[in-house]
Symmetry: C2
Subunit: 200 residues, 2 copies
DNA sequence: GTCTATAGCCTGATAGAC
DNA sequence: GTCTATCAGGCTATAGAC
């Protein structure tokens, strides 16, 4: 049971992050105003500045908060037990499921790749992706010794993420079906492709 | 030699599209002001409204213009001569090269996938991607009869595009090298992966 | 910590001269 | 077709009461 603090400022600061994150994910930094966030939180615009010095700080805090949560859950799919094939299957299935369940994270990631400055991208890399990326690289190396592990690790992530990125337009492309948005179907397809079952 | 028009409005309207496109690609719809565009073109803000009724119309016109150009050049890499393997190799090489040479198109595509409304996404699908997508689907079918062609076509495009999407962050990920941004290296990697040379 | 009020700037868009 | 001038409103951020 947490000790009751003399002020409730910490609580509000957290609520601001939680409420602003989906707004930033949906509309981007320039597409969301401090008024929008204040309205979503249920306080006045001026009160936001009691917790964060400016809009940029609020954005970075919201982003860091969201990314810190993801880092550990991605990592959890990467234990070292079993054959490389089993570990690949486990990782792809888990990562696909996690991405499917978090559209806000996906959108925020895409926006950062487009608009993030050096500092924010380095934060994103260090805080979220370096550890799982290294594990995937190692996995990639075990499965394909003669292939550039960095390239393959990127390809693995891209194979999964691109299906979600294109969800909005696949609806208008021939052969697009509901099941193509099912994480189980996507994961199985990616596993087949990566294990060379396709095109051989 | 074109007949000289009594007005030069067509010329200016085109210049506006050409100058505004890189701005929209770099900063997005909400990140660019009509004043920014006017300054880039070299006319006053008010003059823009002589050519386009509002900001949204200008944006859609610029987008359509850029996408119309791309459609034919993507299509040109998809003739039907040679074995499926040769056709795959030719398409991947050409598509990768084209994407590498047009960062504005890539950025605009990513932004539309994030922010495009139904109407714009349908336009993008019909005007740019349906034809090449069908050709890739057919190619995919010939190379992997038991695999969902729609899924595989998306994967092929994703394998290529994701390497460019992550250019900004791969710099901070372990094993990232300059050569990973070379379209020849990327294309060769994707071809290897798709033809099952990796992971088998 | 939160409020109301507001400063100062930038925005999309328009009016009307030339 | 392009200009200058301007409007009405939204924006970030601050001041000061409670």
């Amino acid at each position: 049971m947490p000790i009751k603090k003399p002020t409730d400022s910490v609580g509000t600061a957290q609520v601001i992050l939680d409420k602003s994150l989906p707004l930033f994910a949906r509309s981007g930094f320039t597409g969301v105003s401090m008024r929008d966030i204040a309205k979503a939180v249920g306080i006045s615009g001026a009160a936001l500045y009691h917790h964060y010095s400016d809009k940029q700080s609020l954005y970075v805090a919201a982003m860091s908060h969201a990314f810190a949560d993801k880092a550990s859950s991605i990592q959890s799919a990467l234990d070292n037990t079993g054959t490389p094939e089993q570990r690949l299957e486990r990782f792809v299935t888990s990562f696909t499921e996690q991405m499917a369940n978090d559209p806000d994270f996906r959108a925020l990631l895409q926006r950062e790749l487009l608009d993030g400055d050096e500092k924010r991208l380095k934060l994103l890399a260090d805080k979220v992706f370096i550890e799982p990326f290294n594990a995937i690289k190692q996995l990639a190396q075990e499965m394909a010794l003669d292939c550039d592990a960095h390239l393959l690790a990127i390809s693995m992530a891209g194979l999964i993420l691109f299906h979600f990125e294109t969800e909005s337009i696949r609806r208008y492309l021939p052969g697009g079906l509901k099941k193509h948005n099912d994480p189980k179907v996507i994961a199985q397809h990616v596993i087949s492709l990566l294990t060379g079952a396709i095109g051989k």
